[in-house]
């Protein structure tokens, strides 16, 4: 039987347990579609909100959730905004300004010889980045990321910005006294800002916005992702970039944080990101095989006695797959004005089995479509069926509100230069905002995930035929791909 002491010790261990945070202290910038994916099976509110996220905020960057992420995110984006401005003299200005803020720290009662250690890491980084900018050696962004992933240096910088926030609150007590318990800003700072293990709260963020961000000519906003009703994330904090006369600065860099209860990450709009970095490497695509069959009667013996158009499609008859298709009520017409589009609800469990004879018996039509989009408009195949074999199995999610998705799905076609989008996970979010001039839609399937342009549709490529524009879509897609 364990003694009381041991039990108390075990109880203490258990109540103090926190899972160890993993991952880089500050991650690489990545497509915010990853957040959408992360919440794909979550509460519908999260699904809707995260589905709308990539359209406005194309990229994000993770911060390790070790209790410092809010401070870390602000400090990192502050340096990143300086890099975005790209003015070497701005770094010198900021260094001088931070030096003068030393008085604030002294005034708050911090020992100069202690906080100088932390401040020096901050000014060191400013100098290194300025030097890199001056040399134009293109490694400034790497220096910044590496510095923030060095625990010792990044903790010094984080400590410095926390002391700055704390000193700001204490020396501007009138602004904060009504927001802290008992109006005691000194005690509040000692308990909520100064401790090494304390997450940034609203007061800390507001103080840092005033002390660090706004005087540099930047703005700061925090976007809140929670389960509150709504279709988009809410802005929970906003510090407008203003100049010395409190006038808004147009096009000033904005520092954007994504807040999920207990954790901060960094958000970017597509325009926040320098163009050369925006070119994310596109992984090589496994070739998609599409079989276009003209002689489908051989494969669907019951075609003659069933009216459903599904039966006209080789390999698509329900019995062939053991799947029950919803009856699709689009018109089938032999004229090229209407391309039959059939979309499976989920990837074929064994697509190869019935499809193989189709492709082998009609090799002439085995065309790698993405290399030649125009071939889809070949009259020979206009009423044939596109059978593809999805390379990956994708989870199926209930369809979120569709208009957003259609706009996001469409540009992808142009991006790739072919009509194929093999996987929804390769969405290039933010691209949609550029392409909003030509939202992709068809009259029939517009709101359905049966629409091949719908992002929930894992298999089929979007197609469009416009009587006026002739083959405009296909040509445009090819043109873009060659020029990019």
């Amino acid at each position: 039987m364990a003694s009381d002491d041991e039990l108390a010790h075990l109880q203490k261990l258990s109540s103090e347990y926190e899972p160890e945070a993993t991952g880089p202290l500050v991650g690489e910038r990545q497509s915010s579609a990853a957040i959408t994916t992360q919440y794909a099976n979550a509460d519908p509110v999260f699904q809707v909100k995260t589905a709308a996220l990539p359209e406005k905020y194309a990229y994000f960057r993770t911060c390790r959730g070790d209790g410092h992420c809010g401070w870390r995110a602000i400090a990192f984006t502050y340096f990143e905004a300086l890099l975005r401005v790209g003015d070497v003299s701005k770094f010198a200005d900021e260094e001088a300004r931070l030096l003068s803020l030393g008085n604030l720290l002294d005034h708050a009662g911090y020992q100069r010889d202690i906080w100088m250690d932390f401040a020096e890491e901050m000014t060191d980084l400013l100098r290194k980045l300025a030097e890199s900018l001056q040399l134009m050696n293109g490694v400034a962004a790497d220096i910044l990321l590496n510095t923030f992933n060095d625990m010792g240096t990044s903790m010094a910088i984080i400590t410095y910005v926390k002391l700055l926030a704390s000193a700001w609150v204490q020396t501007h007590a009138d602004d904060f006294t009504h927001f802290v318990p008992m109006g005691d800003v000194k005690a509040y700072c000692a308990n909520n800002i100064e401790p090494s293990q304390c997450e940034a709260d609203n007061i800390g963020i507001a103080a840092l916005a005033d002390a660090l961000v706004k005087p540099a000519g930047f703005g700061l906003e925090v976007w809140y992702l929670d389960r509150s009703p709504g279709e988009e994330i809410n802005r929970s904090f906003y510090a407008e970039p203003t100049d010395h006369h409190q006038l808004p600065i147009p096009n000033a860099p904005m520092l954007r944080l994504l807040y999920r209860p207990g954790h901060y990450d960094i958000l970017y709009k597509a325009g926040d990101v320098p163009q050369r970095i925006q070119q994310q490497p596109i992984p090589p695509q496994p070739p998609l095989q599409v079989a276009l069959a003209s002689n489908f009667d051989d494969f669907v013996p019951t075609a003659s006695n069933v009216g459903d158009v599904m039966n006209m499609i080789p390999g698509m008859y329900p019995s062939g797959f053991g799947q029950r298709w919803a009856s699709l009520s689009y018109e089938f017409s032999p004229s090229p004005t209407s391309q039959p589009q059939v979309t499976p609800v989920q990837p074929y469990p064994s697509a190869a089995t019935p499809a193989t004879p189709v492709s082998s018996s009609s090799l002439d039509f085995l065309i790698p479509t993405h290399s030649n989009p125009a071939s889809q408009y070949n009259p020979v195949s206009h009423h044939g069926l596109h059978l593809d074999q999805p390379p990956v199995t994708l989870p199926i999610h209930p369809p979120p509100p569709p208009p957003v998705n259609i706009e996001r799905a469409a540009p992808l076609v142009i991006e790739r230069g072919g009509p194929f989008r093999p996987s929804m996970y390769e969405l290039e979010p933010g691209f949609g905002s550029v392409m909003q001039a030509q939202p992709f839609q068809t009259s029939i399937f517009r709101n359905s995930h049966f629409n091949t342009a719908h992002f929930m549709n894992p298999d089929f490529q979007p197609e469009e035929w416009s009587p006026d524009g002739d083959y405009a879509t296909g040509n445009k897609g090819r043109h873009k791909s060659h020029s990019s």
Partner: protein
């Protein structure tokens, strides 16, 4: 790009540099009633003493402590223990101390000097609301004479400790 996990040599040299600086400061500006010195060559453990504050039961007693500095000091607190057996509401019989600034309220602006001064004031102003030694917490208010007797009964001088 390879991202370092930040637990490499760099942080250890940072700790050593910081402790070196603190040692210089303690030697150049000694504070009456406290002392501290590294007890191993890589400076990660220190031995310290505090004098019991006057007009408290600990008056004229010298108390020895050990300080153990983690690799991420000063971003995490040192582990501080009384080496001298001490009778106190917030110290258990192994010398472990319950003090918020050595736990969740630790801040990187604290140093060895501020920690020792805080402990010194804790001797005269125990936090009886959350005691590790319940009997001591009770006697502190109820029976100061008995409290003082138990303090002296438990105490050992540094010479007795080393013997």
């Amino acid at each position: 790009m390879a991202l370092s996990n930040g637990r490499g040599n760099n942080s250890n040299t940072t700790v050593a540099a910081r402790l070196q600086k603190e040692l210089m400061d303690l030697m150049l500006h000694p504070t009456p009633g406290i002392s501290a010195f590294p007890s191993d060559e890589n400076m990660s453990t220190w031995t310290a003493t505090i004098d019991g504050p006057s007009s408290t039961p600990y008056e004229s007693l010298i108390l020895k402590l050990s300080l153990d500095f983690p690799a991420n000091y000063p971003y995490a607190p040192p582990v501080v223990q009384f080496k001298t057996p001490i009778y106190h509401p917030n110290v258990d019989f192994s010398g472990r101390i319950c003090l918020d600034i050595l736990k969740d309220k630790w801040s990187a602006v604290y140093n060895i000097g501020t920690v020792l001064l805080s402990l010194q004031s804790l001797l005269g102003e125990p936090n009886n609301a959350s005691p590790l030694n319940g009997q001591a917490a009770e006697l502190w208010d109820k029976d100061p004479a008995e409290y003082k007797r138990l303090v002296l009964a438990r105490h050992k001088t540094p010479e007795e400790l080393d013997a």
